[in-house]
C-alpha cells in the first residue's frame, strides 16, 4: 500500500505540490491525471525517493521513503517518464544489476526478463548497448526494470507513452496482473483514454492540488475491450509483413 500524507514541494517561489494526500490500496490501480505542470511527475519522483519533500511523508508498504529508504525502496518499482541509462551497458547488463541489487534469485530473474522482454518485443535487443535504443525502447526497459521484482508499490510516470500498440497492450495486461497479485499501482498519464480503461480510481491534480477523486463507477462501466482501430492495427502488426 502507498500512503502519501500532506506532501508539499516548492520549486523556488512556485508551489508544485500543495498538501497532497492520497492512498493507493494493495491490488488497485489509481490513475493520476493532470495537465502539464500539474505536479504529477513531482509527486511520483518524491514518492520514489528521487527528491525530498518540503513537508509531508510517503510510506511504501509501511516504510517511510525518507526515514527508511532501503526498506521502502525494496518494495517499490518506479518507471520514469524520461529514463536515463548508462548508454554503454547492454539492456541485460542493466537488468542483471537491478536484479542483483534487488536480491532476486538468478534463475527467477532470468526467466522474468525473458518473459517480459518477449511480451514487450525487447528480446532480440537485450544484449545491445542502450546507446542504440529509441525513446520508446528506453521506456520499455525502464518499465521492465520497475516490475522485475513484482513490487508491492509501482509508480508509473507516463510509463506507456512511447510504447507501440502491441507493447502497450501487453504492458497494460502486466499491470492488471500485478494489481491482481496485490501490487498498489499509481499510474500517471495525460491520456485520459488509457486511464479510463486501466484504472480503478482516478486522482486529478490541478496546480499541485488534488482537484477531484473519482471511483471507476463514477465514470462508467469497466471497458477493457480493444478499440476497433486498435484491433485493426494489432491484426496488421501480428501478421507477417509481405514486403519484408
Amino acid at each position: 500500500m502507498l500512503e502519501v500524507v500532506g506532501l508539499v514541494r516548492d520549486y523556488g517561489a512556485r508551489r508544485a505540490l500543495d498538501d497532497v494526500s492520497l492512498t493507493v490500496a494493495a491490488g488497485s490501480i489509481t490513475g493520476l491525471l493532470g495537465a502539464n505542470g500539474a505536479g504529477k511527475s513531482t509527486l511520483l519522483r518524491t514518492a520514489a525517493g528521487l527528491q525530498p519533500p518540503d513537508h509531508g511523508s510517503v510510506r511504501v508498504a509501511g516504510h517511510d521513503v525518507w526515514a527508511a529508504p532501503i526498506a521502502a525502496k525494496a518494495g517499490l518499482g518506479y518507471a520514469a517518464e524520461d529514463p536515463v541509462f548508462h548508454d554503454e551497458l547492454s539492456a541485460r547488463e542493466y537488468l542483471a544489476f537491478v536484479a542483483s541489487v534487488r536480491a532476486l534469485p538468478p534463475d527467477e530473474a532470468d526467466a522474468r526478463v525473458a518473459e517480459l522482454s518477449s511480451s514487450l518485443d525487447l528480446s532480440n535487443r537485450l544484449d545491445e548497448p542502450v546507446a542504440g535504443f529509441s525513446h520508446g525502447m528506453r521506456k520499455k526497459l525502464s518499465f521492465v526494470a520497475a516490475i522485475l521484482h513484482r513490487p508491492r508499490v509501482l509508480l508509473c510516470d507516463e510509463a506507456l507513452e512511447g510504447f507501440d500498440a502491441p507493447s502497450a497492450l501487453a504492458a497494460k495486461q502486466e499491470l492488471r496482473a500485478l494489481a491482481a497479485g496485490g501490487t498498489a499501482v499509481l499510474f500517471s498519464s495525460h491520456v485520459t483514454e488509457t486511464v479510463e480503461r486501466l484504472c480503478d480510481r482516478v486522482v486529478m491534480l490541478r496546480n499541485g492540488r488534488i482537484a477531484a477523486t473519482l471511483e471507476r463507477a463514477e465514470w462508467g462501466a469497466p471497458d477493457d475491450r480493444v478499440s476497433p482501430l486498435e484491433r485493426i492495427f494489432l491484426d496488421l502488426t501480428r501478421t507477417p509483413d509481405p514486403v519484408a
Binding site: 525517493g49 527528491q51 532501503i70 541509462f85 551497458l89 547492454s90 537488468l95 538468478p106 544484449d127 545491445e128
Partner: protein
Amino acid sequence: MPHAPVLATFVAMIPAWFVVTRLTALAALRTGQTARVGLPVAARALVSARRTAPPRGLARARFRVEPAWRALARLDAALSTRRGAPAARLTLAWTLWMMSIALTLLPGPDPRVVAFAAFLLGCAEWGAWAAWRASGDPASTLRALPFGLGDAWRARMVPAVVIVVGIAAAQLAATATTGDGIPAAYALGWMIPGLAIMALGLHLGLSLGGLPRAAENLHYGWLATAVVLNPVIPLLGWVLLVVALVQSTLRLRHWRTPEVV
C-alpha cells in the same frame, strides 16, 4: 620525506599531461583537415571522423546473487572497460601506478621520490575516476533502487584499499628481490595520503549527483591548491588535503537528498 623534489616532480608532471593531450587533439584535427577543405577546422574533423560501427552485441550478462555494493562495483568495472571518461582516467591511473612500481626498482632515493609522485598522481587520477563514477550514475533509473550511501561508498573504497595495498605489496616484493628493500613503514606512509586523495574524489562525486565534471574539477582544484601551497609553507598542502577530505566527507549527506528534475 624530501618534499621539494617530490613536489617539483608532481608539479612538472601536470603540465606534461596537458601538453600530451593537446598534441593528440591537434593531431586529430590535422588529420581531419584533409577531408573537407571548405569547412571550419572543427567541422572538418567531425565530418571526416570514422563513423561508429553499427551496434554490436555485448557478452550476455549473468544474473547473480551478491550484495548491493558488489553489484555496484561490478557495474563500475563494466563501465570502466567501455570507452568514456571513467575508462580514460582509470587507464591513466594504472599507467602511473605501474610507472611508480618500476621506478621503485631503481637504486637510490631519487627514483623513489619520483615513484612516490607517480603513485600520488595515479591516486589523483583514480579519485577523478571515482568522482565520475559516483556522480555519473543516472538518478532516474538508479536512485529508486534499494541501496544506500554505505553501499555506494563501499563499492569504490574496497577496491581502492585493495589497489593501494596491492601496489605497496608489489613495491615491497620488488625491492626485496633487488636486495635494496624498503621498510614496510615507508610503504604505509605512501598508502595513507594515497587513500586520502582517492577518498576525496569519491566523496565529491557522491555529494554532487549528476555533476561529474564539477566533482572532478573540485577534486583537482583542492589538489592543485595543496600542491601550490606546500612549498610556500611546509606541510600546509597536506593540512589542506586533510581539510578537503573533512569538508567533502561532511558533504556526503547530500547523497541522501538527490534532485532529479
